[in-house]
């Protein structure tokens, strides 16, 4: 069953150009040049109930703006959104009780009080029954491993702990739909992993529909089977995640640091040389051949340091984007 349906969503906003300096300020007083920016151009997709999808894109692609329209914070310039029979920006309370949004860079917790107080406030705001509230908090605290932190002031928590509390606060009223905007931004690897595990488990158990934006590929890989990619406000891909990996050419990047200046010719035998910075070389290697190539390099070259990374998401998206245009 489709729970979220987005059709031709579009968002423009105007801003004003200002020339620098005092002269510019004076000119501004009398004449302002209005510029229109299209944050979201024409985005359509739909989400099944209980599904967890990733909304991907580089910074400024329009991910957050899309999420804000889905949660009714912003009005779209054009297009429709239907969430469980509601139009988000009509802001009906009945609708608001059905979803929750967590933004990685904003907090809703009271800074100087323990997190449990903020939970209690949400209980009052969402009119949650006492017994149910207690049960929910206990259960979630257990799952998120924050039981001992309930009575610590939020300002004393680490970033990772705080994010967990933010997520907990957002789930007090058992929303059917959860929007997560960069929930792992700025967190260390372990905290990221824990939050991912939790979301995975929670989605399986409660069948909550989740839309997640992130620019960490790992988040998306671990949680979503489907991804919607937008770039410059436009939808460039909507489909299974495995297919993207395929589309990206299954490439990995090998960064090698040798103790002498590298010989590009010698290296190009192992893969495509992307970049040489003194003794540091970046090689592009296909995923299947990674093990083989790596052991070859380690055996034959004076390697000091060695690192495997993914092809950056921006690049892959650009690739997808080019392919879209080409076809």
């Amino acid at each position: 069953m489709e729970i979220i349906k987005v059709e031709h969503l579009k968002k423009e906003f105007t801003y004003y150009k200002k020339a620098g300096g005092l002269k510019g300020s004076f000119q501004n007083l009398f004449h302002r040049e209005a510029l229109v920016k299209e944050a979201v151009k024409d985005v359509s997709f739909s989400v099944e109930k209980g599904e967890i999808i990733g909304l991907l894109g580089p910074n400024g692609a329009g991910k957050t703006t899309t999420l804000k329209m889905l949660s009714g914070i912003l009005y779209p310039t054009a297009g429709n959104v239907d969430i469980d029979g509601f139009v988000p920006w009509e802001r009906k309370n009945e609708f608001k009780r059905r979803f929750s949004i967590v933004m990685g860079q904003k907090n809703q917790l009271w800074w100087d009080l323990p997190a449990c107080d903020s939970f209690y406030l949400n209980k009052c705001i969402y009119d949650v029954d006492d017994m149910e509230y207690k049960k929910t908090v206990e259960e979630l605290a257990e799952l998120l491993d924050v039981k001992d932190l309930m009575n610590v002031q939020v300002r004393r928590l680490s970033l990772g702990e705080r994010m967990k509390m933010e997520i907990l606060a957002a789930l007090i009223h058992k929303p059917e739909i959860l929007f997560l905007d960069e929930p792992t931004i700025g967190l260390d690897i372990i905290s990221q992993q824990k939050i991912r595990d939790f979301l995975h488990f929670y989605n399986e158990q409660k069948k909550t529909t989740i839309i997640l934006t992130s620019h960490y590929m790992r988040d998306i890989e671990a949680l979503c089977s489907r991804a919607v990619i937008i770039n410059q406000g436009q939808l460039v891909y909507d489909g299974q995640l495995e297919d993207i990996n395929h589309l990206m050419g299954d490439k990995k990047l090998l960064t090698i640091k040798c103790n002498a200046n590298a010989d590009p010719e010698l290296l190009s035998a192992y893969g495509k040389v992307r970049e040489i910075k003194g003794s540091e070389v970046v090689l592009e290697v296909s995923k299947g051949k990674l093990k083989e190539t790596a052991s070859g390099i380690l055996a034959n070259l004076p390697v000091e340091d060695f690192n495997v990374t993914e092809v950056p998401l921006e690049e892959s998206i650009a690739l997808i984007f080019q392919k879209e245009v080409a076809s």
Binding site: F13, I73, L74, N107, L121, Q153
Partner: protein, 271 residues
């Protein structure tokens, strides 16, 4: 059915307000030194308010129908109303950063009135208590010394008018702060309105006729502190009584309309 629903909502909002009050107090007690400093600053400003009363007592003259004791009552009302205003004033100040930094987003998605949530969330107890206590003392003292009647009608009417005055204060002084949805710096406007508030330090009777009219009907600051006092003295005409109730309602609806306009602008103009 509708009445029932209304009462239930009312109860919910009152409860939320109680939670806000409790949390604000708890937060402030985290920083005890700041709390004490807030009280001290308010007491410092009180000295300025009091010195006006001292001058009046020193001169020993009536201002129209007002004896110095009456003036003490009026200034007491002014001090108490300042306390009520300062109680929720921090919200007005933080409104502009809430808009600029997008903190409003997380409030919009909550199933309660956004205006309620944003304008009555942080409550300052330090300033409130200092002014409230001092104001009440002055009111009681002035009331008694002036030999004003203490009966059901005068006390209940007085309290009712104070409630109306609070609604008027909230509405009238919220409006200039709402400009922050359109312009970046609202400090100028805010300072200007704050200065207007101080005109209430003296009863309206000392001002000229035109100033009194403007202050009663166009920017009704005088209604806030003068009307409750005039009522207790039995000097508030029936027409003014109607205005004492009508002005808050009128300004509340204006504030409400501007608020809605502001939020609509926020939702369509930002990204």
């Amino acid at each position: 059915m509708r009445v029932n629903h209304f009462l239930k909502e009312m109860k919910r909002y009152l409860r939320l307000f109680g939670v806000f009050a409790k949390f604000s107090l708890m937060s402030q007690l985290e920083y005890r030194a700041n709390f004490v400093a807030g009280v001290a600053v308010e007491l410092g400003w009180m000295l300025i308010k009091l010195i006006y009363v001292a001058v009046v007592y020193r001169a020993g003259v009536n201002i129209g129908i007002l004896t110095p004791d009456h003036i003490m009552l009026f200034v007491g009302i002014y001090v108490m109303m300042t306390g009520f205003y300062m109680f929720y004033y921090p919200n007005f100040v933080s409104l502009s950063s809430l808009v600029r930094e997008g903190g409003l987003d997380l409030h919009i998605v909550k199933p309660v009135s956004l205006q309620f949530l944003v304008t009555l969330r942080q409550l300052d107890f330090g300033m409130f208590l200092a002014d409230f206590v001092a104001g009440v003392i002055m009111i009681v003292l002035g009331w008694q010394r002036a030999g004003l009647p203490v009966n059901f009608v005068s006390v209940v009417g007085f309290i009712f008018l104070i409630i109306c005055a609070n609604l008027l204060t909230y509405s009238m002084f919220l409006i200039p702060h709402l400009l922050c949805f359109w312009i970046v710096s609202t400090k100028g406007v805010a300072d200007l309105t704050a200065a207007l508030w101080d005109f209430n330090n003296m009863p309206q009777l000392i001002y000229g006729k035109w100033m009194q009219r403007i202050g009663t009907f166009i920017l009704p600051v005088f209604v806030i502190t003068n009307f409750p006092g005039l009522f207790v003295m039995g000097e508030l005409s029936a027409g003014m009584m109607v205005w004492a109730v009508a002005a808050p309602v009128l300004f509340f609806f204006i504030a409400r309309a501007v608020w809605k306009c502001a939020v609509r602008n926020y939702s369509s103009a930002s990204s």
